[in-house]
């Protein structure tokens, strides 16, 4: 099974080739290198999947990275069920998005740069999911963060894009700080950062408490919550979600790959990977479930009133990530990872369709200025329609199986907040269907509301863009079929496959209850679609009226609950005030400059006094010499 090494290192090689030779030699052929590498990774990933399906797994160190006393870290790879699912998700999405980018980024000045970053991202993401220790995970984690920064700020001469890149990076620092502390505490507790010994010994520390900031807390709760800090940052959960909508400044394929399908799900992967730690702490699980549920509700309500095509999908991503955490929080890690896997397909598809629409609309993103695009771009319309059905949880589509699994396991969970998060989840399912179809109806149905010039420009995207759409569409429909629950006569293969790694929640419930829960979520989905149809196709005056009637609520939602303004007030402006008045005004002007200017000033004043001894009159020097001689003579005689 040693060919697995090719999976991360092919994209790395593509990155090195493109970054070194892209500008001068390869230029507009850069995609060949990148696509060949990621396709190779995909083939090897599929081979790895078949190996794992036949019962093999692997945990191997290949290179000693750090060796210092008792601290040893290697570059090592762990290939098990969870890793292979992530490998398939990452390489499949990455490959299709690489192909899509050929059409989307055609003729761009930084073509080679785009593909090199995409390869570097794929490498980092694969290192993240294949790691067998926390430090390598952290390496991949920061690597994907860095690539995300590069790619959000890809159009760096646009101020909003470079600001968004910085915002993503800085907000992630908050989460990663906690994550780093978590790894340090893991090392202090277990003496190692490898998964295998940490997870197998975690049970022994279950009852241990430590004093943290004056409170006695369970060690495992502390570790789990610190690790979860990292997840909150990377997966854009409350309260660190603010960077993800802004990250839409990047090129659309980047939004699809990094900010929908792969990188942002790293947080869910982390929680799933560390499930032996999380499962030991009920407090941590409740926090995870509540953060997930609140985030999903919060983001879904914002998405209801936004008009920016990509931002609606971005809030939808945040909301769906909240779903995944909700699942992990009730102990249903398999359902969380299952949703991660199906979500990657339909969300990447939604973004790529949005990119296709942008392509036709020459960069226009306001859905109020679209409409009637259906007849100009049928492929985009139908694929996006199917992706929206999938995310709305319509039976038969991928999203239905994973969402239903989450809601059922939340409902049947013994977790004290299980019922609460189920209710939130079911309501969010309704909201999700509503805003997804609001997007579809406003964009593709009725008549075009843009300028005449724009209408003239409307066209279906080139083959290199529509083919990945159709391929992803297959995933958005069929990806869920591996996890059809037993109540519907399926084998729940996904859950069984994951059981050795992620276990299975202890929930109890009858088949009848399960069908009722399923019925509620399906009804919520249809209700959402129906309401969107009623409001945006039949009674087109209704949305405006409602917005006017509930002006206060509308404003709050439209301004995203003023979270950005709140952070600006609480963090950014005080920081700038401190920088201006304390750091520049006091530290810099009064302390550092006092030292820098004071030391030479004192030396100067001293030497000005000393200079007076230098009269320039020869006899003064001679007298001093003679006096000196006399003194020496006297001293010698008196001895």
């Amino acid at each position: 099974m040693n060919y697995y090494l090719l999976i991360p290192f092919l994209p790395l090689a593509a990155f090195i080739i493109n970054i070194l030779f892209g500008k001068s030699i390869i230029r507009d052929k850069a995609h060949w290198v990148a696509i060949a590498a990621v396709a190779g990774s995909w083939v090897v990933s599929v081979a790895t999947l078949t190996d794992v399906l036949s019962g093999k797994s692997l945990n191997q160190d290949i290179y000693t990275w750090i060796l210092s006393g008792g601290f040893k870290v290697s570059v090592g790879f762990l290939i098990d069920q969870l890793t292979t699912v992530m490998l398939i998700v990452v390489t499949t999405c990455s490959m299709l998005i690489h192909i899509y980018s050929v059409g989307y980024m055609h003729g761009d000045k930084g073509y080679y740069r785009f593909f090199s970053y995409l390869s570097l991202f794929t490498f980092s993401m694969l290192m993240l999911v294949m790691a067998n220790n926390f430090l390598q995970l952290y390496f991949g984690w920061e690597g994907v963060g860095l690539c995300s920064y590069f790619l959000i700020g890809y159009y760096f001469n646009k101020k909003s894009a470079s600001d968004a890149g910085k915002k993503a990076f800085i907000v992630n620092r908050f989460g990663d700080f906690g994550f780093g502390l978590g790894i340090i505490i893991i090392f202090l507790t277990f003496g190692t950062v490898y998964y295998e010994p940490v997870f197998s010994q975690a049970g022994a520390f279950a009852a241990k408490t430590v004093n943290f900031l004056g409170y006695d807390v369970h060690l495992m709760t502390l570790i789990a919550l610190l690790l979860f800090c990292g997840s909150v940052g990377k997966s854009a959960q409350m309260p660190l979600h603010v960077w993800l909508p802004d990250a839409m400044e990047g090129p659309t394929p980047v939004s699809a790959l990094i900010h929908a399908a792969t990188m942002v799900t790293a947080g869910v992967f982390l929680v799933a990977r560390c499930n032996p730690i999380f499962s030991l702490s009920e407090t941590a699980l409740i926090v995870v479930a509540l953060v997930g549920a609140i985030t999903s509700l919060f983001a879904a309500t914002i998405a209801l009133v936004q008009n920016d095509l990509k931002r609606i999908i971005a809030y939808s991503t945040i909301s769906q990530l909240g779903y995944m955490f909700l699942a992990c929080g009730v102990g249903a890690y398999t359902a969380g990872v299952f949703h991660l896997y199906t979500h990657a397909f339909f969300k990447a598809l939604l973004f790529l369709c949005a990119g296709s629409v942008m392509h036709a609309m020459a960069g226009e993103l306001d859905i109020q200025k679209m409409g009637g695009l259906k007849k100009y771009m049928p492929v985009t319309y139908w694929t996006m329609f199917i992706a929206s059905l999938s995310i709305s949880g319509i039976p038969g589509f991928a999203g239905f199986f994973s969402k239903d699994e989450i809601l059922w396991l939340a409902y049947s969970s013994p977790n004290p907040v299980g019922k609460l998060v189920w209710a939130i989840g079911a309501f969010v399912a309704f909201l999700t269907a509503f805003y997804s179809f609001r997007l579809i109806f406003l964009t593709f149905h009725s008549t075009f509301r843009g300028t005449h010039e724009q209408e003239h420009h409307l066209h279906e995207s080139p083959k290199s863009m529509t083919v990945p759409l159709m391929l992803l569409c297959i995933g958005a429909v069929a990806a869920g079929w591996v996890g059809i629950p037993s109540v519907l006569g399926g084998g729940a293969h996904f859950t069984e496959f994951m059981r050795p790694i992620l276990g299975h929640p202890e929930g109890h419930g009858t088949h009848a209850e399960e069908l009722v829960v399923m019925g509620i979520s399906v009804a919520a989905g249809f209700l959402g679609i129906g309401l969107a149809y009623y409001m945006y196709l039949m009674r087109k005056d209704l949305p405006v009226k409602l917005a006017a009637q509930f002006n206060g609520a509308y404003k709050v939602l439209f301004n995203k609950y003023y979270v950005d303004e709140l952070y600006s007030f609480l963090i950014i402006r005080p920081t700038i005030w401190i920088a201006k008045n304390v750091l520049i005004g006091v530290t810099d002007a009064k302390v550092i400059e006092a030292i820098v200017n004071g030391v030479p000033g004192a030396i100067g004043a001293f030497s000005r006094q000393l200079r007076k001894a230098q009269t320039g009159f020869l006899h003064h020097y001679a007298t001093i010499m003679a006096m000196g001689l006399l003194v020496i003579l006297v001293l010698m005689l008196m001895r």
Binding site: Q614, T615, F617, H619
Partner: protein
């Protein structure tokens, strides 16, 4: 036989004259001559000790000093001439540019 002390007293007297002349006089040529006096006072004491101790090393040192003094006289006089040409004076109080 003249005793050693006399020679040393002569040496000290000549040296003191040299020092006194160097400090008090302002004419650069006189000061230069005073330096020569001091060097020769040292030479006297070296020779007298050499004779007293019956050791020729002292006299060898005297040759060195005479050589150095000759070189110094040559260079020193050249500098004095150069100074005189620039300043048209040999008075050291007029030469006080080398101050801080």
């Amino acid at each position: 036989m003249v005793p050693l002390q006399w020679y040393l007293m002569l040496s000290a007297a000549v040296f003191t004259i040299g020092v006194f002349g160097f400090i008090t006089r302002r004419n650069i040529i006189i000061m230069f001559m005073s330096i020569e006096l001091m060097l020769n006072a040292v030479n006297i004491s070296l020779v007298s000790f050499s004779h007293y101790l019956q050791d020729l090393r002292g006299q060898i040192l005297v040759f060195f000093i005479i050589t150095v003094a000759a070189a110094e006289a040559a260079i020193g006089l050249a500098i004095i001439i150069a100074l005189f040409r620039n300043k048209t004076t040999a008075h050291v109080d007029d030469m006080n540019e080398m101050k801080g």
